[in-house]
């Protein structure tokens, strides 16, 4: 599955994703997130919710008691309930719908997991769709720990839980590999010595040269150069600086 950052020299793989029909006849391809990414996003969001709830509870309780004391009142009072308990509960239960609407299908957890919500038309879900999706958490979460939802996500083709089925939504990966993609390509060199994929790899390797271990960058550089020159990596006996210079010349199109 795609969706990883541009930190690899591997060429992007074909998406096993969801295709949305478009008016142009060219499908929009959306890489669908699986149970792992969903669970990861949920766990992050759950921790944020709990931390927010506790933070609200502590601050509101201190304000209510007027001293460094978190003790609950002996009998329930309107002030305690209205200031401490109710807003905290609202934060916990409205976290998902409010943030998903405000952040157009994302939450902090989803953002960290690199996923977002879309409709089956590839668009940002509407407010009713967000609300319906979240109402169905009541069913997805039974009997415990979202067991039913997880079973549904594992079994369904597009990895959707009941809430997604009801709202017509999908969780897809945010693409990251495109970021800076065009900066890696010098149109002038394409078609001369390098094809597009190799040109991208050379540019990427040169950009990351200093961050890589010396032995790794030499091995990668020799492998790439051997592929371009049509020889074996062992036959390239250039020093590290000469290897880098040669690759840079190829990328600029100045190499013969």
């Amino acid at each position: 599955m795609s969706g990883r950052g541009p930190t690899t020299l591997e060429a992007p793989r074909e998406d096993a994703g969801f295709a949305v029909d478009s008016a142009t006849g060219v499908d929009v391809s959306l890489p669908v997130a699986g149970p792992g990414a969903r669970s990861f996003a949920f766990i992050i969001d759950w921790h944020i919710r709990v931390v927010l709830f506790i933070a609200w509870f502590v601050v509101a309780a201190l304000v209510y008691n007027g001293s460094w004391n978190l003790a609950l009142p002996g009998e329930p009072t309107a002030g305690w309930f209205g200031l401490v308990v109710f807003p905290g509960t609202l934060i916990y239960f409205l976290y998902h719908p409010v943030l998903e609407i405000a952040m157009r299908g994302r939450t902090p957890g989803k953002r960290m997991a690199g996923v977002r919500l879309v409709t089956r038309q590839g668009a940002v879900p509407t407010i009713p769709a967000h609300l319906i999706r979240n109402v169905f958490r009541l069913i997805d979460s039974v009997p415990v720990c979202y067991a039913l939802g997880l079973v549904m996500v594992t079994l369904t083709k597009d990895h959707v839980r009941i809430g997604d089925l009801a709202a017509g939504t999908l969780l897809v990966y945010e693409r990251r590999e495109h970021e800076g993609a065009l900066e890696h390509v010098n149109p002038a060199v394409i078609g001369k010595r390098l094809d597009v994929s190799t040109a991208e790899l050379v540019e990427e390797l040169l950009q990351r040269w200093q961050t890589l271990d010396a032995s790794v960058r030499q091995r990668l550089g020799r492998t790439l150069l051997a592929r371009i020159e049509g020889v074996t990596p062992e036959s390239i006996s250039l020093s590290e600086s000469a290897l880098r210079k040669r690759l840079a010349e190829l990328a600029r199109g100045s190499a013969e």
Binding site: T24, A123, F136, L138, I139, E177, A181, L182, H184, V185
Partner: protein, 333 residues
């Protein structure tokens, strides 16, 4: 010219357009995030969409494993999402929801409302008959403390305000009612059976408790407690159950070739009724917290509040509260 040379030339030609792709991606991003509302940008985006589709199709063939293709995939998906994004008019959408969409959704589940109401009434009668005929069966429906209180000749609601303030009581009640109502709706996913059980069980419990209090001469007091909030609360239970039943029916008898699509359509259509249910239950919670347990309110006040709020509910579900009149054309948000 060989095929390889021709493809190389095509790739080079395609890449010459990279500045146009960058501009298109940037424009789509700005329009999506609302950082521009220029008409010229929106018009350009339509051209961008065609350009990106054309070039993506070529890139998929000429350089399938390249990051250039990834860039185009992303830019095209973003342009598509931006073009198909609905205009955002929150105030108008809310008005349209209450004026047109909720009444339409309610009308679409009229038959379900009738059936769920019949189920509720039948369960209520069954519960009352069971406890009337076999009094010991009350143990199935009520907690031991409630039974003991009634057997002492008191209603469990007496002195409630001495224990819990009205505001706390209201919030506890409305939260509980909203959860039950939403659950009755969601349980419709089980081919309507979940909704059937929840509505039936609530009817049985209410009938049983009424019969039990009648055996101890407290049924008038219970009616007095319930009437102000119960008219709408029980109606909302039926309403959310009907919405759940409609969802269940969409799964049993799909209206589209695929069950999942039928389920989705029913859920999105009937889910609007739940918004009205939640709003109405908030009102019920406050009535149940402030008026129902307060002995200072006479019976006629309670009846007026109960019936008045029920009429308000009907007006709201018909859209009359928000200016809809008979024959009014529905408007799309």
């Amino acid at each position: 010219m060989t095929d390889a040379l021709r493809e190389q030339a095509l790739r080079a030609t395609l890449l010459q357009r990279s500045d146009l792709w960058k501009a298109a991606a940037d424009r789509a991003r700005r329009l999506m995030t609302g950082r521009t509302d220029k008409v010229s940008d929106a018009v350009r985006l339509v051209d961008d969409y065609r350009l990106l589709a054309h070039d993506l199709a070529r890139a998929r063939r000429l350089m399938p494993d390249s990051r250039v293709r990834s860039f185009l995939e992303n830019a095209y998906a973003q342009a598509h999402a931006t073009l198909y994004k609905q205009a955002s008019h929150p105030g108008y959408a809310l008005w349209s929801l209450f004026r047109d969409q909720i009444p339409e959704a309610t009308r679409s589940i009229r038959s379900h409302i009738v059936w769920v109401l019949l189920l509720f009434v039948a369960a209520l009668g069954a519960g009352a008959w069971m406890v009337h005929t076999y009094p010991e069966l009350i143990n199935l429906f009520a907690s031991p403390s409630l039974i003991a209180t009634v057997e002492r000749g008191e209603l469990w609601t007496e002195g409630l305000l001495n224990v819990v303030p009205s505001s706390v009581l209201s919030l506890q009640i409305l939260t509980n009612n909203i959860v039950v109502s939403l659950f009755a709706y969601c349980a419709g996913f089980l081919f309507g059976l979940g909704t059937f059980y929840i509505v039936g069980l609530n009817g049985l419990m209410l009938g049983a408790v009424f019969a039990f209090t009648a055996q101890h001469g407290l049924d008038d007091d219970l009616f007095r407690f319930i009437v102000a909030h119960g008219c709408v609360e029980l109606s909302v239970m039926v309403l959310s159950g009907a919405a759940g039943a409609a969802v269940g029916e969409a799964l049993i008898r799909p209206t589209t070739p695929r069950r999942s699509q039928s389920f989705q359509q029913a859920a999105l259509r009937t889910g609007k009724v739940l918004i009205a249910c939640v709003v109405l239950l908030i009102g019920c919670g406050f009535i149940e917290g402030y008026i129902s347990p307060d002995p200072s309110y006479p019976m006629w006040t309670r009846v007026v509040v109960g019936v008045g709020y029920w009429l308000f509910m009907v007006a709201m579900l018909r859209g009359w509260v928000f200016g809809r009149s008979r024959g009014t054309e529905a408007v799309e948000a």
